[in-house]
């Protein structure tokens, strides 16, 4: 890289000032709405009060954040592995595809919040039912995107592979799977945000820790500042996990990222 640090920073500023300005505007509106008394403080706490509480109760929130993050990541990883496996099976076997698709769709359209209590009954109040709900939420987009990716490979490329005689395993490892990665990553990015929702839904239904529990408690106590603080932390968890995946994609698929143009991390990190 020939760019000097000063240039690099100017580039970062150029790319980030718009979203930063929008965020600042939202905070300003929030502040005005609460400061002028347009909305009662017990309904919407002021940003100052919310962020003040975030700072004060940081250690309390941090513990619960870690619980939710742990459930989310575990659910996401299981959904990712399972989703890719099922997608591969579906792409290579028409029988498996036609058998599994209706069940998958059925599992997807069932409202997770409606079956979450069942998992509590079956698995108790620990982290397991939360992970299961997160898996259920995150699984579907991974399967769909991986199937699409694996099927999007050029037929000509596959014919070429047949004339090269590498066999199905080499064809999968060297051609089909790498070609599916951009689709897979798109699915994983949707999945990770859904996994956060899944974990929180699981906590709503029955738990004594995690950010879902924090929000439920705050709601019960009419503690709106804590409710807002919980919401902010959940969003931050989702955004950070999303950005990590975006970064992983950029590192693993530079050939694709360079053609796709501005993604969030390229926006922030390109120098």
């Amino acid at each position: 890289m020939s760019t000097v640090p000063a240039d690099r920073w100017r580039g970062v500023v150029e790319r980030t000032w718009r979203p930063a300005a929008l965020l600042a505007a939202c905070l300003a509106i929030w502040h005005l709405v609460t400061a002028t008394g347009m909305v009662e403080a017990y309904l919407v706490p002021s940003p100052a009060k919310t962020f003040g509480l975030l700072a004060d109760k940081w250690s309390y929130l941090w513990g619960h954040t870690w619980v939710t993050t742990y459930e989310t990541i575990l659910g996401f990883v299981i959904a990712g592995l399972l989703g890719v496996l099922v997608a591969v099976a579906m792409v290579y076997s028409r029988t498996i595809e036609s058998t599994a698709y209706p069940i998958l769709l059925f599992a997807q359209v069932i409202p997770k919040i409606a079956i979450a209590p069942l998992f509590v009954v079956w698995l108790g109040f620990g982290f397991e039912p939360k992970v299961v709900v997160a898996v259920l939420m995150a699984f579907f987009p991974v399967v769909i995107s991986t199937v699409t990716g694996l099927k999007s490979v050029d037929t000509e490329m596959l014919e070429l592979a047949a004339t090269m005689g590498g066999g199905p395993v080499k064809t999968f490892v060297k051609i089909r799977f790498p070609a599916a990665l951009p689709h897979l990553f798109a699915g994983l990015k949707v999945a990770v945000t859904l996994a956060v929702t899944g974990a929180v839904v699981g906590e709503f239904v029955g738990s004594n820790e995690g950010l879902g529990y924090v929000i439920l408690q705050a709601n019960g106590n009419m503690d709106t500042p804590m409710l807002f603080a919980g919401l902010i932390v959940i969003s931050v968890v989702g955004v950070v996990l999303f950005l990590l995946l975006d970064l992983a994609e950029k590192l693993m698929l530079p050939w694709h990222a360079s053609r796709r143009g501005a993604a969030v991390t390229t926006l922030l990190a390109k120098g």
């Binding site: 014919e159 047949a162 090269m164 005689g165 080499k170 060297k174 053609r259």
Partner: protein, 264 residues
């Protein structure tokens, strides 16, 4: 090979081959009773109206497609499934986007489990021969269409196949690049002695490159006529274009194709 049968003198032997497939309503005959012999080291062009089944012939030879009747023999062995002793070049370069030019060429070696050092040397030779030097590490999207097709050609030649099948390889290129590629392919063919079967839409290309041009009819494709190209082996592009033999061959093919497509 020690066993030499009567047919082993041909590199490719297509005898009485028909291809039929079931479309939504009716049975469609793509190729009807086509017979064709290609001698080792020969360059044969196949021309015909769009969608007549020219590409189907190449798929039959490579074993990617099975004939409904008749038989195909490649290098003395009947074709029963995908064959590995050929090189294939498609109209689209079909390169792996995440691999550099050189690594795309080496895919052939990896899939075949060839000796890596030897394959690397061979790849470098081909890169040199096709004028790709300096672009070894470029990704496909950084290369022009002509360059991408050169990579595809190198990949098809890496394992030194005795038969090279080309399905409209230069169809997507601009006229000037196409001429350059014609000249290069001619040189590569002369240097390697590979048997080439080329499907093309360009009459000039078919004559400039080939020893023989096979003219097919509309679907179902039958061999309409075989034109022997009476040109010297050493073919300078402009000089060849100016020769009366070139003019008469292209005029004849144009006539045939006009007659073939002009019906009803």
């Amino acid at each position: 090979m020690s066993v030499t049968l009567g047919t082993a003198t041909s590199a490719v032997e297509i005898s009485d081959v028909s291809v039929r497939f079931q479309s939504k309503r009716a049975e469609v005959t793509a190729v009807e009773r086509v017979s064709l012999d290609v001698a080792p080291g020969e360059f044969v062009s196949i021309v015909g109206p769009s969608g007549c089944g020219k590409s189907t012939l190449l798929k039959l030879v490579s074993g990617l497609l099975k004939p409904s009747s008749g038989s195909v023999t490649l290098l003395g062995e009947p074709v029963r499934g995908p064959r590995h002793d050929i090189g294939f070049v498609f109209q689209r370069a079909a390169l792996l986007e995440w691999r550099s030019a050189r690594r795309n060429i080496l895919l052939q070696a990896e899939m075949r489990g060839m000796n890596a050092a030897e394959a690397g040397r061979r790849a470098d030779e081909l890169i040199e021969m096709t004028g790709l030097s300096g672009f070894e590490n470029a990704l496909p999207h950084e290369l022009s269409g002509g360059m991408q097709q050169r990579v595809a050609l190198c990949r098809a030649l890496l394992h030194q196949p005795r038969v090279l099948l080309m399905d409209e390889p230069f169809g997507a290129l601009d006229a000037l690049t196409r001429e350059q590629m014609n000249v290069e392919l001619h040189r590569v063919w002369r240097e390697t002695g590979t048997t080439v079967l080329l499907v093309t839409h360009s009459i000039a290309e078919s004559v400039y490159l080939a020893n023989r041009v096979i003219v097919l009819t509309r679907r179902p494709a039958v061999v309409h006529e075989v034109i022997d190209v009476d040109l010297p082996a050493e073919r300078d592009y402009s000089a060849t274009m100016a020769r009366p033999e070139f003019a008469s061959a292209t005029a004849r093919i144009r006539d045939l194709l006009g007659a073939v497509t002009g019906q009803d």
